[in-house]
Each structure stands twice: as C-alpha cells, then as structure tokens.
Amino acid sequence: MIQQLTKFERRFGLVISVLVAGAGLTLIGMSEDGLLAIHGTIILAAGFIAALLTGGTIHEPEPDAKRLESYYDDPIKFGIIVSMIWAVFGMFMGVWVATLLAYPEWTFDAAWSSFGRLRPVHTTGVIFGFGGNALIATSFHVMQRTSRARMADQLSPWFVLLGYNLFCILAVSGYFMGITQSKEYAEPEWYADIWLVIVWVAYFALYMRTLARRREPHIYVANWYYLAFILVVAVLHIVNNLAVPVSFGHIKSYSAFSGVQDAMTQWWYGHNAVAFFLTAGFLGMLYYYLPKRAGRPIYSYRMSIIGFWGITFFYMWAGSHHLHFTALPQWVQTLGMTFSVMLLVPSWIAAANALLTLNGAWGKVRDDATLRFMFLAAVFYGLSTFEGSFMAIRSVNALSHYTDWTVGPVHAGALGWVALITFGSFYALVPWLWKREGMYSSKLVEVHFWLALSGTLVYVFAMWNSGVIQGLMWRTYNESGALAYSFNESMVAMHPYYIARAIGGLLFLAGAVVGFYNIWKTTKMDTVQSSVPSGDGLIADDASHSR
C-alpha cells in the first residue's frame, strides 16, 4: 500500500512521522506529571511506527502512472475496517456502562473502571471512533465519485485517518487514567485538541482540493453536507476548547470561559456536534448511498436545498435548549426552544426526501437488507428529530430533562440513525471497493438487520418508560406538599428498565460483531473483474456506468 505513494509523498510522510515522534519526545521531556509522559510515549510510538513504514519504502520505485486514472481507495478500506473495530469496542463499552447502571458493583473497585471514566470511553468510542472514521472513509469515497476526480494527493488521506485515530486513542486512553476537561463530547485535554486542529485543517484542505479538481459542473448535495460537517466541527472544536494549560508540562487546562458563558459555549458546541457530526455528515452518507443502492433519482432537488440550508441555519441557534430552567437568561432559552421547533421542518424535509426517493423501489427495500438499513435510518432520523424538537419545548423539557427520556431519543438517533445508515452504507460500499460479487453472506446482513432493529427498539422503549416514570416520580408530591418519592426509590423503579436496556444493547452489539465478521470475510473473497460494480471504475469512463 505504501508503495502506492509517490517518492515525494513517502519522503514527506517520513518528515511528518519524525516530527510527530519529536512532539511525543518533547511531551515526555516537559512532563511534570506521569500522565503527560504516558501520552507522549503513545505519540512517540505512533510517530516511530509511521517513520519505519515510510522510511522502509523510501527507495522503492515510483508507482505506476496508471493509478491516476482510477480513484484512490486504499485509505477508504482502512477507514472502514478501523471504524468497525471502534464500533465493536465502543458498543461493548456501552453495554458495560449500561450494566453498571443496573449493577453498580461491576466496577471491580478500580478507578479506571468507574462509571465516570467508562461513560466517555463509550461516547467517544462510538461517536468519534466509529462514527468519525465512517464519516471520513465514506467522505473520501463520495467526494471522489461525485466529483469524478481522484483525491488531490495520496498522503493527506493517510495523514487525516491515522492522525484522527491517534487523537481518538489519546482521548480514550486518557479517560481511563482520569484525564478529562469535563466538557461532554469534548473531554480530551489541550495537547490532544491542538493535534485534532492540525488533522482537521488537513482534512478540510484535502476536501477542497479534491472538489477543485472535479469534472462535474455542479457539486452534489452529499458534498454540501460533508463540507458543512468538516467546516463547522472545526469552528466548534476550536472555540469550545479554548483553554489555558496549567503549564506545558501538565495535562490539566482551564477553560477560557466560566460560569453561564461556559455552559452556553459548551452546549452551543454540544448541540452543533450533534447537528454537524451526528447529523450533517451522516446525511451526506444518506444522500449518496441510498439513491445509489435504490437506483432511484433523488426525489426533489428543491427539497434538498431547503433541507440543507434550513438545517445549517436553524441548528446554530438551538443549543440553549440543553440549558432550560438554568441560570441562563430566559430569553436565550426562548430562542433555543423556538428555533428547535422551526428546525423540525428542514429535518423532516431531509428525511422525507430520502424516503420519497424510495418510491418506485419499495420492492427492493423489502428484499434487500442493505437498503432496508438505509430506509430505517431515515425513519429513525425523522423520529429522533421529532422527539428532539418536542423535548426542546420548555414545559416538556421540565419533565424530560435529567431523566432517561433524553437518553432514549439520543439512542434512537445514535443506534437507529447514525449506526444504521453507517452499516447500510458499508454493506453497499464494501463489495464496490474490494470489487466483490456482493457481501460474503447476505443472510448475515439480514441477521444483522434484525439484531440491530430489535436492539434499538428494546433500548428506546426501555428508556421512554424509565424516563417518563423517573420524571413523574420526581415531581409527585404528597398531601403535605413534600416530595412523595426519594431518589433512591426512583432508582429502584429504574432497575428493570436498565436491565432491559443492557439486553437491547447486547443485541445491537451482537449485530455489529456479525457485521464486522461479514465485512472481514468479504475482503477475503475473490475479486470479480468482469462486472465492475456500479460506483467504481476508472475516472475517465465513469459516466458510462450510470444507470
């Protein structure tokens, strides 16, 4: 694979690897506490391995010039496999965290395995590890195909993917050791944050450079979504993580914001992370793989446009619905609430546009589990956005906030939308990329589908129930006007639902394991040269593959 890089790229890669290793060494040298040294060591090791790989091939000949006539797919393959590894890891951690809520003693009395440390391992593992790698990998695929252009160079995609995974590893290993800046979904400390900025700028540049080489007159919607994802996440990440380290030898830093400004910045970030990481990016996926698999034109170009601009505009204002009834001034809450309600329309337009695209292909939805994954994802997307807008209404939020009711729709979105659209896209993409007849086993795709669906339903129903019961118990008064239930009693009432949730999660995890196995087996199958799968082939004659 590395031989595919040009000599210049290999040399440049070696320089970057050495710089990374040097940065690791510097951190070790500056470290005033053992923790920074451990992370320095991880960075050093990463740089060292990358240097060995690039350095070892430095004298190999230049790659065949014919490669420029086809798309560059090696990093995409890598991204898919890594994404599936993160999926299994992150969901396993999810099941563990779910079990801890039902049986708190399962921490084995150790600090690293306490709930507070494992929970961000779960969220980071699934959102950034699984979701992030899936987004990067599919974006590389979609941007090349819809631009009919090969990626601008071969080094940047590797830098982006490997650098991004280094960030994820720093994040997750840090939580186990107790390193966190305690901002949800932005827990990693300053040095990891700086590294992510570098990686992200390279990602953005790569995307723009590839788009600039496009041979299509227009830019396809999926690209708008991917670009919005990349651009906005960069802005969010930089602003929310503005912080001053205690010293350059110390992992700890203090946020540039304090008090209610800090809370507002965090949830402006948190909500838009949901919007642009968990929504926009995956809509990009939906808008490419669904019509492709269904073989149908997008239902309405106009709906694509108002959906996209509506989502990007309204989401930006909605973050304050996470802070209803807090010290945040009421007028800010009003804006968050009303914009969330207006946001429902573009969200549903995006979902409806996808579902209506399936008109004329319902037979396929019935027979093809891969397409069914995508169909169901769009349905769950509609469902979770409906609930989101509903919960954003202040009087509803008064009941739902702090309860499992939030966790329910979160996972309707996370499992039903994010994970299902990813699995569906992977099942479509893997045979195209590896040039296989189809997936290793379409039965297993079917099995995965039912495991995922039942797991999601069990999870979401358990949380709706427990959330509403919790919310009601917390606001029930006795005749003397005092609270009727203690917190303790509400915990007892939650117990059966927590067990149900863990079982639902286990089903979902089992599905992911089956999926990983199936994908792995597919990569080991024979190549089919005769029938170039749709969506692949040479750049020059790609247009002739259109159906």
Binding site: R145, I298, Y299, R302, M303, Q333, M342, R547
Partner: protein, 300 residues
C-alpha cells in the same frame, strides 16, 4: 450531460445533472411542507411576542406576559413551603410525646420521614435504617448516644465527629498501632470481648493452646478494666456519655468476628456522622427523629 429526462415512475423531470449515476428530480416542494413551515414559524413568532425573547443591547424584549423564570421559581418555592408549613405545623408545635401518641401525626411523620430518610440518610444507614458495616443500625433499639427523642435529635443536629462546633465527639483509640498494648494483650481482649456476647472463644477448649486456655479470659478482663472501662464501662455495657458501644450484646457497628474486633482494637475507629444543622430545617430534623424512633417500634 444536460438532457431533460422524465422519470417514468413519478412523472417529474430531472434537473439534468448527474453524479456517478445519481440524478435528481425537479419535484416542487409539496404544499404540506409550506404549511408546516408557516405553522412552526407562526408558533415561534407568537412565542416571541408573549415571552422574553430577543436581546436589545443590554436588555431584551420582555414579552407581553411579563414572564420571568426566576420570579416564578421563587414564588413557587415560597408557596410550596407555605403549604408544607400548613400541613406540618402541628408537628413543629407539639412535643414529642404528644406526636408519638397521635396516629394522624405519626402517619404524616412516616410519609414525609421516609423520603427525607431515603434521600439523606440511607446511603450510610441503609434504606430501612438497618445499618451496614461502619454505620450503626437505627432500627435495633440499641443506642450509642441514648434513646430519648432529645438525644437522637441532638445527634442529628450536631453530628458525631462532625464539623459542627457542638458536635459530639468519640473515638476508639488505636491501642495496637499506637503501642498502648502488645499484640498478645489485644488477642486476649478479643477473646474476652467475644465471650461477653456469649461467643465461646475459638481456642478455649482446644488442648494445644494451654497458655490461652482459661488464662486468656481473666487476663483479658483485667486488661479491659485497666484500658477500656473508662469509656465502655466496667461491665462493658457502653456509655451514652462517651458514645462507646455496648460490647456485651451481639450488635456490632463494624461487624462480628475476631478479625474485625482485632482490627478495631489495633487500629482504632472514628465513625463520622455528619451534622444536619443548616442542611435540614429544624422541622425536617424533628420529623427524622420521630421517624427513626418509629423504625424501632416496627422492630418490636
């Protein structure tokens, strides 16, 4: 590739663009969507008119309803406090004896005490007040600091070894660690103490432990009289003055068993009961006192 095509299924034209095989139809926006947009935007507009909404420099639009979440919460908290006061003021006014004999008031105590107890006390004392290792049972009619309502109320108010200026204080000294006693002495004490609560020391009748056989108990007794009686009393029945527990019953704070007892005497103990003054109102403390007493009646 600009060619107008008509999709046979929907009858709509495509936009003429194509990306890697994907085309788009030029379907107009459905009416329902426009309606939906109008409804949500009108809702937002209405809400802005009635509620605080848009910033204006250093102030904001207050809204026609004059809503203010801070004022509202203050008002609701005050109202709730007043309604509670009305319902519970009899408990505040009456003395302990009257309340205990008033079925209606005791029902109120149980109802409100349960939530208070479970929210504040059960983490240490258990949901039913049954206690756990290190935290005494409050339901066994056995009291470190006395069984009268006033004594219990004081414990709740000031705590034990707590940061309250009037806090009760008590400590079981670390006789072994601080080298006040030798290891052998401590072992003798363990046997002696176990015998007090009716346990036959493990080695009492075994042939090969002649030195401890029959000697340990009297020896333990005399060491006890010299070192321990000041707090635990000569009869080892404890004292509600020092908070030292009765060692003759089979009720243990830290659990039965020679190892635990050895550990207590060797390393000492200093349990902390937090002070609730300032965290719970006097009325709440009173309800808890009565509730805790009530736990013991159920026991009998």
């Amino acid at each position: 590739m600009h060619k107008d095509e008509r999709d046979p299924h929907t009858g709509y034209k495509t936009t003429g663009h194509e990306w890697n095989g994907i085309k788009e139809l030029n379907t107009p926006i459905p009416r329902a969507i426009l309606l939906f947009i109008i409804v949500t935007h009108l809702f937002a507009l209405g809400y802005w008119i009635f509620m605080p909404a848009w910033p204006l420099g250093d102030t904001y639009t207050k809204g026609l309803l004059g809503a203010d979440q801070k004022k509202r919460v203050e008002k609701e908290v005050a109202e709730a406090a007043m309604s509670r006061q009305a319902a519970l003021e009899a408990i505040e006014r009456q003395d302990y004896n009257t309340i205990v004999n008033d079925l209606h008031l005791m029902a109120l105590v149980r109802e409100n005490g349960k939530t208070l107890f479970r929210d504040n006390c059960s983490a240490c004392h258990g949901a039913q007040g049954q206690g756990q290792s290190g935290f005494p049972s409050l339901a066994d009619n056995d009291w470190l600091w006395g069984n009268s309502p006033e004594q219990i109320a004081k414990t709740i108010r000031v705590g034990v070894n707590a940061d309250h200026p009037e806090s009760r204080s008590s400590e079981m000294l670390a006789f072994g660690r601080d080298q006040l006693l030798q290891r052998g002495d401590v072992l003798d004490l363990v046997s002696y103490i176990e015998s007090l609560s009716g346990k036959v020391p493990k080695n009492a009748d075994s042939a090969d432990s002649a030195d401890s056989d029959g000697i340990a108990l009297p020896k333990g007794q005399s060491i006890f009289a010299e070192n321990c009686a000041t707090c635990h009393g000569a009869d080892a029945k404890g004292s509600t003055e020092t908070g030292a527990p009765d060692l003759t019953d089979d009720i243990w704070i830290y659990g039965a068993g020679s190892d635990t007892i050895f550990h207590t005497i060797w390393d000492g103990r200093k349990g902390v009961m937090p002070s609730w003054d300032g965290r719970l109102t006097p009325l709440q403390q009173k309800i808890l006192t009565l509730y805790v007493l009530g736990l013991n009646e159920e026991e009998q």
